[in-house]
Symmetry: C2
Subunit: 313 residues, 2 copies
């Protein structure tokens, strides 16, 4: 074999969309969609049959934007509020009323939306810490890669890692992986007192043994090669039920996770989705640099999680 | 475009080999090549026209191995010594005599070889700290990626990062990149007091301004996407002469570097080479899991560095 052929992102996105297209649409409160990209994202996802957006923001401004860029808003509910602060308040009410089953960031600042979600007064929290999961479709790996936390928690403690893992495990369940395999990543696969992440990996495995983390098969520390390649693990003499077939990749801290997901996105043809978990409903955070594919893929993942939420509540 | 075609590693390795095949061969002391893979590596590199190996170890044992696996040793010098300790000593002598211009690890333990190199008594050190550089040919990136330090220094201090960078810069020069562009990686592209690597990035840039680091164009902190994609940098409003075209990637610490290079190797079709710098001669460290391509590619990189050493001394 002298060359390898990679399937396009568009085709992989279409396969992902097919997972939710025939399900009842999940209503998503889009918080303050007041610039072109943040309005276009939910509309594209809606037109692809992925979600039912509820646009929460200044109706006049939203309609003017739609007119300017030729978006058809006829099918979507608009909740008219004067500013981003009021949009956050209204989105909270929609969630509590059961009218929105997910939130999507518009053009307000991430901190404002996250502040709304973590504020105890708004009662959107669960007992678990808020964390972020990237779901990446990478053509060179035979299953979705769930990478956490590469976006919200900078240097999580062991206790925080428990929540981060449990959030990702629930997401894996929602994506149809009943017992996800979790690789707890480090630079080495042995416990090394000089590398705290290896000690924490051992502790997390024992916590899973004791039922303190539920619904997954954990192993770690594992280096990245052992996590993704059974052959690499075999050569190193590592016997692990996770090696070579990890679904969830727990990174030691945000810095390594950030490089990992960006590398997958920029150099490994990954189709990227991201979702914030640990609140009563999933939250789709978007970033200015996100592609249209990423915005739609994130809506699919949030919708699948919301469907699982429906069943569990 | 619905699919992408990736050139094979073999073809990329052949292009790399072509860079040294017509140059005078660099003599490489292979320290204790006493198992199949560690003997086969230098012989394959020699047969490809990359290096001239000097096999330093128990001659009887080496010849028996060659007989067992059908390797032809007729063209290679063997320096007969009884054990790995004596092989290290003899390799040091060959370097000081100018008979070896690089070292290659055989089947002894890495710590034994590295201990020999860093021992002041052996006088193989330079003023700079020892560090490791991966040189990766990644089909989705238009130039070689030099990643440092993802193998030797676990959590380098700022002072150590200066040496790590300078070693990598000299290697870039040897590879024909006269003024390499250096991305100092972090999870974000802004200086954030909570993330020490971002402060160190700013300090390293200023040190380059002051001539404390020479021969390269530095910028950082840069997140991985800004380092490899001019478009990602443009969207974030980052003006940087390095963004999108980095040659050298300085990682904050070993853990993130380890994930980065393994991800490139396992999921991005990278052809990987590695070399240890900061000693009087380059050192090729191999790992049991290394492919034949990696062993040969590492010999090419070390040979190119040794050629530059010749010119500079």
């Amino acid at each position: 074999m002298t060359e390898t052929v990679i399937t396009s992102k568009e085709e992989r996105l279409n396969r992902l969309i097919a997972k939710v297209r025939d399900l009842p649409k999940v209503p998503v409160a889009v918080v303050y969609p007041c610039d072109k990209e943040s309005l276009r994202g939910p509309i594209m996802a809606a037109e692809a049959g992925v979600i039912e957006p509820i646009l929460v923001g200044p109706a006049g401004q939203i309609r003017a934007l739609a007119g300017e860029f030729g978006f058809n808003l006829a099918n979507y509910r608009i909740v008219d509020v004067p500013d981003s602060h009021a949009a956050c308040d209204e989105a909270v009410k929609l969630v509590h009323a059961g009218e929105a089953e997910a939130l999507m960031k518009g053009s307000l600042h991430t901190d404002e939306l996250m502040g709304t979600i973590v504020s105890r007064a708004n009662n959107l929290r669960t007992p678990r810490r808020i964390s972020h999961v990237f779901v990446m479709d990478v053509p060179t790996y035979p299953r979705p890669m769930l990478i956490t936390d590469a976006a919200v928690n900078i240097k999580p403690t062991l206790e925080e890692k428990v929540d981060i893992l449990q959030n990702a495990i629930y997401l894996a369940h929602a994506l149809g992986i009943p017992e996800p395999k979790v690789a707890i990543l480090a630079a080495v696969e042995t416990v090394n007192p000089k590398m705290p992440s290896t000690l924490e990996a051992a502790a997390l495995c024992k916590m899973a043994d004791r039922g303190q983390i539920k619904g997954a098969l954990l192993d770690g520390p594992l280096a990245f090669d052992n996590a993704v390649s059974a052959e690499a693990a075999r050569i190193k003499g590592i016997k692990s039920p996770v090696a070579g077939q990890a679904d969830i990749f727990l990174v030691p801290e945000l810095e390594s996770g950030n490089m990992l997901f960006k590398q997958l996105e920029y150099l490994s043809f990954a189709l990227t989705a991201g979702v914030v978990l640990g609140a009563k409903v999933p939250v789709i955070l978007t970033s200015r640099a996100d592609s249209a594919e990423t915005r739609t893929a994130s809506c699919v993942i949030a919708a699948m999680f919301a469907h699982a939420n429906r069943k569990n509540n």
